[in-house]
Symmetry: C2
Subunit: 168 residues, 2 copies
């Protein structure tokens, strides 16, 4: 979207925007930072089950809920749709804290192998990505969340068993 269109939507002329922003890149960066903070606040204010694995599921639901309600913010955060845009360290800090929050949920659920965290990220990210790009707002992929989580934790448990065997 051009700055001309941005200005039109807020009832201003395009040059007037420069009373509020330094450049278009700075505008993107501010949007990224606000979106990341909003996502972080959203998942932190979510209600989580006492059971750690249900809590992981709750975290997925929180992410899904945010992505459904804020598709544009989700696109800016998770897809690389703006050519050449890289968030500043300050804006990226919120995104990193979001990742840490999710990792903590996984660790509490018994996921200790960093490789398994990578797998989890890829699986949930793949599911969410398919949903958002092919059927935004729908549930064609989201309804498979429980199945995917079940097979993931099956893998985690099997992995742990193997490690135990190796140690005994």
């Amino acid at each position: 979207m051009s700055l001309h269109e941005v200005a039109r939507r807020v009832g201003l002329r395009q040059p007037s925007l420069y009373a509020y922003i330094d450049s278009k890149a700075a505008l993107y960066d501010a949007m990224f930072g606000q979106a990341a903070k909003a996502l972080l606040d959203h998942v932190k204010s979510w209600t989580y089950s006492a059971d750690p694995r249900q809590a992981v599921r709750d975290g997925c639901l929180a992410l899904w809920n945010f992505a459904d309600d804020h598709p544009v913010e989700g696109q800016l955060l998770f897809e690389r749709t703006v050519p050449g845009f890289e968030p500043s360290p300050a804006s990226y800090a919120y995104a990193q804290e979001f990742l840490r929050f999710n990792t903590d949920l996984l660790v509490a659920a018994g996921v200790t192998d960093p490789g398994d965290v990578d797998i989890f990220t890829a699986l949930i990210g793949g599911l969410l990505s398919q949903q958002q790009t092919n059927e935004p707002g729908g549930d064609r992929w989201m309804r498979h969340l429980d199945a995917v989580l079940e097979m993931f934790f099956y893998h985690v448990d099997r992995q742990r068993q193997t490690v135990m065997k190796g140690r005994s």
Copy 2:
């Protein structure tokens, strides 16, 4: 990339490109069609194991191999990185045939539920996407392919068992 840059790289001036293309959009479409055909030829000329589930794994390896060797084509085919670009039906036909080829591999491996095909697409797509965007050419995510396939087929078998139980 601007047409000026395209022309520079092939040793021409920018207007001379119009002896070969009708518009920039047509160039994108031709690239998409060629990339989809190249991917289709690649996976069709791949060697597949007799075991149907190993053949599914082989199909994933073929896709991975192509994405590693042709990252730009992979980006054009699988990500929506060019604003406003939609492939023409003629160019998209190859991509559809690729999807059909993969679905056939899955069906041969006992995946009958269309929902499981969706899950498979999401899981493998998520793995490939993470790999390509975060560590192109590396293996940080690709080395988890076997684990993901194993948990996927665990799910498929469990699903089938449940169906059998329901019928008996």
